[in-house]
Amino acid sequence: MIKENFKKALFVCLLGLVSFTLPIKKHVTIWMVGDSTMCQYDSSRFPLTGWGMPFAQYFDSSVTIKNEAKGGRSTRTFIAENRWQKVVENLNEGDYVFIQFGHNDEAKNYPDRYTTPEDYRNNLIKFVTESRDKKAIPVLITPVSRRKFDANGNATETHEVYSKIVREVAVQMNVPLIDLDAMSLKLLQQFGEKNSALLFMQLEPGENPNYPSGVHDNTHFNAYGARHIAELVLKGINNLHLELADRIFKK
């Protein structure tokens, strides 16, 4: 009996050893493709912050973040400028592609950015298909919400048509989806109409030397807002049970 227990204990110990000596995680890169709400900014524009910036601070050393997002880009212009091509060429098996567009695609008043709903859908499908061709893992993200409240103080949907298209492509092609539009809308509601301004680029004239005349922007985030959005995306990764979730920093 004792011998049996000893054997069991030894077995458990060995198991423990094996788990300690498992090969280190294969290195992966997260490629971020998107617009100004996601991209990297120079410190001269501080406190303007894309959510991809704080996002990069929450992974272990097996992850590299390549933030290829660019201000003002729609799916159409991102492709036309060969930005997508550059990403595809560098994709490795097991890499992730985080895709968040919409703000500029849907902007009819900016003809140089605007993308029709049909083209938007096709471009998302292109991103997904070409990522998968390289054995990378595409993740679709609905466009993060703008700050807009109705007269009753309710946070209002600002990307209705284009977010719906992202959700449809995700279902149709069985792509992991982070519904950042819905999640961020909820966050804005939690902060409320007044305090949600604290998340965005809202500065009084003379408050900050980088914006001497002040700024009242309900689309772009400050460092505080960008981090809250990054936290939502991390939550999305956890909820999806992506393998990537195991690479999020653990204390």
Binding site: P54, A223, E231
Partner: protein, 239 residues
């Protein structure tokens, strides 16, 4: 001989102080010291060198040899922004510094900076978030803030009363909303703080930036020469 004058010499602004001012390790984010955003406000003639360190009082900062290299590197026209108090004033902390010693250490910083023809600036310790039951903000550094002010008056040192100014800001935000300025995180919200955080001393990105903005405004109000090196961006209308 005009070329004998060092052209375009950079001004170094040394920050010495505690955790409320310090640069943070990535795995402490989003806790942010106000010295971090303070980096982004000057033109290319200024280098901000943040030597502030978590947990340090004037005494331990000196004892650990952190002040000496600052003095050694000081050049004429450099600045030393001095903000201590949080760790000096707590008798139960290893870093405790008596009021007398705190005063003496501040005087040491000021005179040694001046011996190198650098410009010391004294800053009262930034406020903690503390409201009484009626929702009135409470002073949390009464004694040590007083000491900083006394040294500033006695030695004619430029003073930034960050304690008072930050209390005004925290008061404006009010008991609930002022949590946004500090490192408040709910459980599961942030991987670096899995069980959450309710910190009434250390700042979020928002609080740190607001505090840095206050310091910057006071540099202007004091008419320090440094104010001429604040980044100048042409005024432009929002597109």
């Amino acid at each position: 001989m005009s070329f004998a004058i060092a052209p375009n010499k950079k001004i170094t602004v040394y920050l010495i102080g505690d955790s409320t001012m310090a640069d943070k390790e990535v795995n402490a984010y989003p806790e942010t010291g106000w010295g971090m955003p303070f980096h982004y406000f000057f033109d290319s003639t200024v280098v901000v060198d943040n030597r502030a360190k978590n947990g340090r009082s004037t005494r331990t900062f000196i004892e650990e040899g952190r002040w000496k290299p600052v003095v050694e590197n000081l050049n004429e026209g450099d600045y030393v922004l001095i903000q201590f108090g949080h760790n000096d004033e707590v008798p139960t902390k290893r870093s405790y510094t008596t009021p007398e010693q705190f005063t003496a250490n501040l005087v040491k910083f000021v005179s040694e900076a001046r011996n190198k023809k650098a410009v010391p600036v004294l800053i009262t310790p930034v406020a903690r978030r503390k409201f009484d039951s009626s929702g009135k903000i409470e002073e949390t550094h009464a004694v040590y803030t007083r000491l900083v002010k006394d040294v500033a008056t006695k030695y004619k040192v430029p003073l930034i009363d960050l304690d008072a100014k930050s209390q005004e800001l925290v008061k404006q935000f009010g008991p609930e909303s002022s949590k946004y300025l500090y490192n408040y995180l709910s459980p599961g919200e942030n991987p670096h703080y899995p069980t959450g955080r309710k910190d009434d001393t250390h700042f979020s990105e928002l609080g740190a930036r607001k505090m840095a903005e206050i310091v910057l405004h006071e540099i202007k109000n004091l008419n320090l020469e440094l104010a001429n090196h604040i980044r100048a961006v042409p005024l432009k209308e929002k597109k």
